[in-house]
Symmetry: C2
Subunit: 783 residues, 2 copies
C-alpha cells in the first residue's frame, strides 16, 4: 500500500478525467468509470469492446442479486458448511458498438489518438469520452461518446455516440453487438476460492435480431435464474441508412449494422438504448414482453429526455449528500468520488443489498457483508434514508433464511445472519473468517436501530425493525454463558470479531459490546412497542412468543456482559487471547509478504501474532463512545494504534473517527486523507477488482461523524465540530427526523440551519440548541 | 455406542470364531479376520471373491506406505493447506480362487452350507475356514481353507485350500484370479472428505499369465509409485491336472485355471503363494525380477515350511507380549485380539509407520496419527522394542519434512510433525482439527524419550532420538510467549489439544504440559550427550547450532509454563475457554445425533459446549502423574469424568489408567472392560472401516500401566499393582533395559522374576527391590 502516491487523475472538484488511454491502467480504470444504478452495473469498458486478456480487463455487466451457484468443494466437509456458491454472474454485453470510417475499424491501439479525454461527470451522473482518431490510412474521425445507467429507470442504460469524419467524406459503419459468450474471470477476481463459476453459465433460451432489436434471454445452469437483455439504436444526422441484422447462435452473438454515407465535417449521432431485467422481478415468461416494452419506451423517449432526467435525479442526491470542503480540492474530489460510487451501487428494490464492491466488479463474488450496515448505511441514514430503508428491507426479507441458519448453528430460537451472501443464505466457505463472525448479527441490528433513531420512521420500526432486533438478540442470548470463572459474567466463546487476523477467539470486545447493545435494542424495541399501544405490543409479543422470563434473561445479559480488560495497560483487550500473543515483529516477514499474509503464512501463524489487520475493538469504542471516558478512549486508541496494520480498507476511517473524538486531530486528518483517496489513487493496488464501498462510505463518516462530530449514541442528535487546520471549513446537510439541517463549519464560526422541517433540538458540544422554522432557523456561534 | 452388547463371537482364550456366514455381518468380519505383517495388509474377504456392494464389503489389499495422491479441493485455500492427498491405495487382489465341483461354482449364497466355521488362530497367526457345501444340484464338497500373511517374509501371503468331494467323483476346477480392476471405496470409508481417490488409480504397466505365474505391475496416476504383485499355486493329491492361463487387458484381469478329475472322498490340496512389492523398496525396473524370485522361493519352499515358520515367529511375540488374565475369558480374548492386531499392523521397515486402522481398511485414508506414539508405542517399548524402534525410525526419517512444515507455519527453526500423514508431509485438510494439533510434536518426543528410558538404547538415542527431541522442542520455544497478563508465564495460543470437540483454543493443558516436557527432554538429551563424551556433545551442538542462549530460553520456558486452572473447582481447565462454556445438555440433542455431532452440528456449536469427546487434560495428568498429588489427580478425574462423552475410541483406556492411580478401581475396571472388547464387539458400529489400533494398544496399557501400575515417569521402573476383584490374577512380561521380567499378580501375592538379563533395581509401590540372576532372581510378597 503506497499512500504517498501522486494523484492518478487530475485534481478537479467534480470530475474524474482520464487523459490518455493505456493498456497498463485499463483494468483499474474500468472500475473508476463503472456505472450503476443499484440494479444494473456495468464496468467502464470501451464501446469498441476490446478483447483484452484476463489480466488486462473485464467486460463486466451485472444485475444486482443475479447469481449463479456451483457446488462448493471441501477438503473435509462439516455440517453447516454451505454447499452451493452464490456468485454475481457476468451477463451478456450490449455496449459494444464498433465504428468503421471508410472501412477502417476504430481502434485506439492502432492509428493515432489525439485530444483524448474520458470524464466521469460525477455531478451529472454520466461518463463522456472525447477524442480524435486518425486511422492507419489517415482518415480522421472525431468521436464523442456518452454513457449513463439510468437512475430513473432501473432496467435501462443509455449510450450516445457522435461521429464526425474530419478529413474525408465516405461510409460510416456502426455495428452494435450483443455478446452472450461471456463468463466470469473467477481465477483472476477471486484467486483463493476453489470453485467457479467457470465458463459460460447461462443456457441461451432466446437470441433474436429483429426489427433493429437485439434480444437475448438466458437461464443459469444451476441457480435457475433467467435474465433478459435487449438493445436498439437510432441514428440521426445521416442521410440514407442501410441496416442489416443477424444472429450467430453458436457464438451466442447478435449484431445490428448500419451503413451510411457521411460528408466531411458532418456529425452523425447514434443513440443506443439497452435494457436488462430478470426473473427476480417477474415470471420468466414475461421477461421478453417487459424488456421489449421498456426498450420501446426508451427508444421513443430518446436520449436527451432521459439524459436530462438523469441529471435532475442525481442533483437531488447531491443536494443533500454533497460535502463541501473549503479549499482542499484533492480531498474534495476524493469524497465526491466515494459518494458517487456508493450512491450508485446500493440496491434499492428491497430485495437486493449492496456488495462490498458494489456492482463494479467480481471481487468477493459480489457478496453483501457487514460493510453495508456498518459503513454505508450510516451515510444513507443521514442523507438518503430511502436508500437506507431499502437496504434494510432486504435484510428483513431474508430473516427466514437467518432463522434457518440460527438452527443450523444449534440455536433453538432467533436469527443468525450470514457473513456473506446474496440470497440471504450463508455463502462463506471458510468459517473461521466467515460464519464465526457472529458480529454481523449485531451490525445489522445496529443499522436498524440507527435508521429508526435518525429517521424516526415508526412505521418501518413496527413493520420490520422490531422483529429483526428481537430475532438477532435471541442468538446473543443463546451463544454465551454466565461463566463462574469470570465472576458470573456473560462470556461469548469461539467467535471471530471484525479483525481478520484474529479468529476463533473468546470474548472479542467488539462482539460482546455489539451483542450486548443488540439485546438492549430488542429490550428498547419492546418498550417502544408498548408506547405505541397495548394492542400493538401484545400482538407482537404473542406472535414472537416473547416471555417475561426471556426478557429478564436479556436484561441479565445486558447487565453482566463480560469484557476482556488488560489491567497492566488499562485497555480493553481485543479478546481473551490477544494480550498473550507475541508482539508483531515485521522483521520476521520479508517486505513483499507483509501485505499478503494469508497468501504467505498459515492462518495459525497469523492468529498468533499480537497485531490487527483493521479496526476491531476500536470500532466498538467509537460506536459506543458514550459508555467510555475520553481518557479510556485515548488509552485504547494509543494501544490499538500501535498494533494495527491497516491491511484492510475498512480500518482507516474508523481510526480517524475515534481520533477526532479524543482530539488527535492530526492523526485523524491523516487517516481521513488516506480514506478519501484510497480507491481514487488505488492505494491497495486492487481497484481493478472493484470499489471498496465500505471505505468510500467511511470517508463521509470520517468527516461528518468524525470531524463534525455528529452522533446519536447518547440519544438525541449531537455535534462536536472540529475543522482540520488545513481546511478553511466545510459544509454539509443532514436529514434528521424529517428535518433538513445545513451545517457550515469554519475556523471562525459554527453555523447550523434548519433548512426544512419542524422545530428541533440538538446539542452542539455540551450545549442544547433549539431551531425553529422561520426566524429561529439559524444558530451561529463564533469560535 | 452399545457397551452392553452380548459377545459377537464365542468366548475362547485364543481364537475368534465365526460360526455362520451372513451378508449382514460380512463387512465387519472382513476386519475381524484381516491379516497383515505391517507391510502387506489384506482384509478378511473370502476366497470366492464375492462381488459385494460398497455397503456389504470391501476387497482390500494394501501395502504400507503405498498411497495415491489427488488434488485436495478447498472452498477457500489459505497458505499452508496441503494440496495433495495421501490415500492408502487399494491394490490388485490375488486371493480370489474359485472352486467348481462338477461344473458348479462354490458360492455360500447358493446351495447349502453346513459345519461352517471361520477361525482367527491368534496364537498361531492364521485364519482357517471349514465348511461342507452342498451345491444346488446336490454335489457335496468339504472345504478347508487357511491363509496367513507371512511375518517372516514381508512380501508374501499364503493360502491353502483343501477340497474333498464327499458324495461324488468328478471334475474339480480351480480358478486363481488376479484382479487389477480395483478401487478405493472412498465415499463409504471416508464419507466427509471431498476428494478421491475415485476409480482406478493405477496405470497398468504389465499384466502377464505365463508358466502358471500371474503377474501385475502398475503405477499410480499422480503419486508416481509403482507396485507389483504375483501369484502361483500348486496342486497336490490329484491325478492329471490340466492348466490354462489367460489375461484380459481391458478388464485388468488374469486367470490361471486347473481342471482335474477327483474321486469321491479324495482330498486335493491347492497351495497358493502371493507376493506384493513396490518401488518404495527398489527401483521400479527391478520389481518384476524381485517379485518373481520371491514367488519362486515361496513355491519351492511350499506351504508347510512357512506355515511352521509363521507359528514360530508369532510364538516369539506371544512369549513376551501375552498378558494372562486368570479366569476372565471374555477380557482375555479381548486383550489377545487387540494385541494380535496391533502386532501385525505395525510398519517394521523404518520407513513406514502404523495407520490408525493398521492395514485393515481404508478408514482415515490409512494415515498415521499420534495414535502410534501415544497408544501403540508404549506397548512395543515394553514388549517388542524392535517394532517400537522401527516406528520411531520412520519419524526420524521424516524429520526433514517436519522441518519444512515448521517453516510453513512460520517457525524459523525446528520441526513440526504433521497431524496426519503417510509420507511425512501434512495431509490434514481441516486445520482446526489437524495442523492445529501441535501436541503431535510433543507426543512423538514423548515416545522417543519413553523408548530410550525403557530400553536404554543409547545408540538409537545418539543416532536419532536426540535430534528429534531438540528439533521438536524448538517449535515449542517459538510458538508461545511469556505473557505479562499471565504473570509472565509462557502461553501457547491458537492450538487444538487432543480433544476433537474443542478446537483453536489457548493454553490447552495437555499441550502446554507435553510441550514443556518436550523441552525438558531436549535439555536432558543435551546432558546425556555431555555424559556420553565431550566430542559427541560438541559435534551435536555444533551441527544443530544450539547456543547457550537457546537452552537458557528453554529452561525459562520449562520453569514458567502456564497452566489454566479453575480456582473454584481446584482443577486444571482443559484450556482457557473450557470453563466459560455452557455445560453440555444432552436434552438439546436428539439421541440419534449425539454420537455424530460433526455430521449434525456446526463445528462452532460443538466448540461452545462444555464437554470433551475424549481424554485430553486427563491424558496429560496420567502421563505425568509424578508432578501431581493424588488429591489433585482425584479432583481432576472427578471433574473430567463428568464432562467427557467418550465419543472417541481413544478415551476409555486413558480414563481407566488414571482411575487405577487414584484407586477408583471399579471405574477402572469398567473402562478397561470397554476398551478390551470395543472392537471385538464393535461398540462403535464402525469396525468395518478398520481396527481402532490406539484403543487396542490402550487395552494393554490399561492392564500393565493401569492395574499393574508400571511406570517410568519418576525415573526408574515402578510397579503399583492392583488385581481387579473380578479376576484371580494376571501374568505378563516386561522388557526393561535388556532384562526380561516376569510379573505375576494375584490377590494373595505379588511375584516379580528376573527371567533374563543382568541385575536390576525397581520399585514395588514405595519399596525398592533388587533382583539378580540366579538365586536372587525372584521377589515375592504376600498381600
Amino acid at each position: 500500500m503506497d499512500i504517498n502516491k501522486k494523484p492518478i487523475y487530475p485534481v478537479e472538484p467534480w470530475n474524474i478525467t482520464e487523459t490518455e488511454f493505456s493498456m497498463e491502467t485499463n483494468y483499474r480504470n474500468e472500475t473508476t468509470f463503472a456505472l450503476s444504478n443499484g440494479y444494473i452495473g456495468t464496468r467502464g469498458t470501451f464501446e469498441e469492446g476490446y478483447d483484452f486478456s484476463v489480466d488486462e480487463g473485464l467486460e463486466g455487466n451485472f444485475i444486482n442479486g443475479f447469481y449463479e451457484s456451483v457446488d462448493i468443494p471441501y477438503g473435509e466437509w462439516n455440517y453447516g458448511f454451505p454447499t452451493k456458491s452464490q456468485s454475481l454472474l457476468n451477463l451478456p454485453d450490449l455496449k459494444k458498438t464498433e465504428i468503421y470510417g471508410d472501412g477502417e475499424l476504430f481502434d485506439m491501439r492502432t492509428g493515432k489518438v489525439e485530444d483524448y479525454s474520458r470524464v466521469l461527470h460525477m455531478q451529472d451522473g454520466y461518463v463522456e469520452r472525447k477524442l480524435t482518431w486518425t486511422s492507419p490510412k489517415g482518415k480522421k474521425l472525431q468521436l464523442v461518446m456518452k454513457r449513463f445507467v439510468s437512475l430513473v429507470h432501473k432496467n435501462r442504460m443509455y449510450q450516445q455516440i457522435q461521429i464526425t469524419p474530419v478529413n474525408f467524406s465516405g461510409e460510416i459503419r456502426i455495428c452494435s453487438h450483443l455478446n452472450g459468450d461471456v463468463e466470469n474471470h473467477t481465477r483472476k477476481t477471486n484467486p483463493l476460492i476453489g470453485y467457479g463459476p467457470f465458463g459460460s453459465r447461462l443456457h441461451m433460451d432466446k437470441l433474436q435480431a429483429e426489427d433493429g432489436v437485439l434480444y437475448y434471454e438466458g437461464t443459469t445452469l444451476q441457480s435457475g435464474m433467467t435474465m433478459a437483455c435487449a438493445s436498439e439504436y437510432k441514428i440521426a444526422g445521416a442521410g440514407e441508412v442501410v441496416t442489416v441484422f443477424g444472429t450467430d447462435e453458436e457464438k451466442r452473438h447478435a449484431v445490428c449494422e448500419s451503413r451510411m454515407e457521411v460528408s466531411e465535417n458532418t456529425t452523425i449521432t447514434c443513440e443506443k438504448f439497452m435494457v436488462y431485467t430478470s426473473s427476480q422481478d417477474m415470471e420468466a415468461g414475461k421477461l421478453e414482453g417487459f424488456a421489449k416494452k421498456e426498450l420501446k419506451e426508451a427508444v421513443e423517449g430518446g436520449w436527451q429526455k432521459e439524459f436530462d432526467a438523469q441529471q435532475a435525479k442525481i442533483h437531488e442526491f447531491w443536494e443533500i449528500s454533497d460535502v463541501q470542503i473549503y479549499d482542499d480540492e484533492a480531498l474534495q474530489q476524493g469524497i465526491r468520488f466515494n459518494l458517487f460510487h456508493i450512491m450508485q451501487s446500493a440496491g434499492r428494490d428491497g430485495r437486493t443489498g449492496m456488495g462490498a464492491k458494489g456492482l463494479s466488479g467480481e471481487g468477493y463474488e459480489g457478496h453483501y457483508f457487514w460493510d453495508t450496515e456498518m459503513y454505508v448505511l450510516p451515510v444513507f441514514v443521514y442523507t438518503a434514508p430511502e436508500l437506507a430503508k431499502k437496504l434494510l428491507e432486504y435484510r428483513f426479507r431474508t430473516l427466514d433464511q437467518a432463522r434457518d441458519r440460527a438452527k443450523v448453528l444449534g440455536h433453538p430460537k432467533g436469527a443468525l445472519y450470514p457473513w456473506r451472501t446474496i440470497n440471504g443464505e450463508e455463502a462463506s466457505t471458510y468459517f473461521p473468517l466467515g460464519t464465526a463472525q457472529y458480529h454481523i448479527n449485531a451490525d445489522i441490528a445496529y443499522a436498524f436501530w440507527l435508521y429508526v433513531s435518525v429517521t424516526g420512521d415508526l412505521e418501518f420500526f413496527k413493520d420490520m425493525a422490531a422483529e429483526v432486533l428481537v430475532e438477532t438478540a435471541r442468538v446473543w442470548a443463546d451463544v454465551g454463558y454466565f461463566a463462574e470463572c469470570r465472576g458470573g459474567k456473560y462470556c461469548i466463546c469461539a467467535v471471530t470479531g471484525p479483525d481478520e487476523y484474529n479468529a476463533i477467539t473468546d470474548n472479542n470486545f467488539y462482539t460482546n459490546l455489539m451483542g450486548r447493545e443488540n439485546i438492549r435494542y430488542a429490550l428498547k424495541a419492546l418498550e417502544m412497542l408498548k408506547e405505541a399501544g397495548a394492542d400493538v405490543y401484545e400482538a407482537f409479543v404473542s406472535r414472537m412468543g416473547i416471555t417475561e422470563e426471556e426478557t429478564a434473561y436479556w436484561e441479565k445479559i445486558v447487565e453482566n456482559m463480560y469484557f476482556p480488560y488488560d489491567e497492566n495497560r488499562q485497555v480493553y483487550a481485543l479478546d481473551d487471547r490477544f494480550m498473550m500473543l507475541r508482539p508483531w515483529d515485521d522483521s520476521r516477514i520479508p517486505p513483499e509478504k507483509r501485505h499478503l499474509l494469508y497468501e504467505n503464512y498459515h492462518p495459525l501463524f497469523v492468529y498468533r501474532q499480537r497485531m490487527c489487520k483493521q479496526a476491531d475493538a476500536i470500532f466498538g469504542l467509537y460506536l459506543h463512545s458514550n459508555f467510555f471516558s475520553k481518557e479510556e478512549l485515548k488509552r485504547n486508541y494509543d494501544f490499538y494504534q500501535e498494533v494495527t496494520l491497516h491491511h484492510s480498507s475498512l480500518s482507516n476511517c474508523v481510526f480517524g473517527m475515534l481520533a477526532c473524538q479524543i482530539g488527535y486531530y492530526d492523526e485523524a486528518y491523516e487517516y481521513f486523507a488516506q480514506s478519501a483517496r484510497m480507491d481514487l489513487d488505488d492505494y491497495h493496488d486492487n481497484f481493478y477488482a472493484g470499489i471498496h464501498a465500505a471505505n468510500m462510505a467511511g470517508t463521509w463518516q470520517a468527516i461528518i461523524n468524525g470531524f463534525a462530530g455528529v452522533r446519536v449514541n447518547g440519544g438525541g442528535l449531537e455535534l462536536h465540530p472540529y475543522v482540520p487546520e488545513k481546511w478553511n471549513g466545510m459544509q454539509f446537510y443532514l436529514l434528521y427526523r424529517g428535518r433538513k439541517l445545513k451545517i457550515q463549519l469554519t475556523h471562525e464560526k459554527t453555523r447550523v440551519e434548519l433548512a426544512a422541517g419542524d422545530a428541533v433540538t440538538l446539542k452542539l458540544n455540551e450545549k442544547e440548541i433549539h431551531l425553529e422554522p422561520g426566524e429561529g432557523s439559524v444558530y451561529e456561534e463564533e469560535i
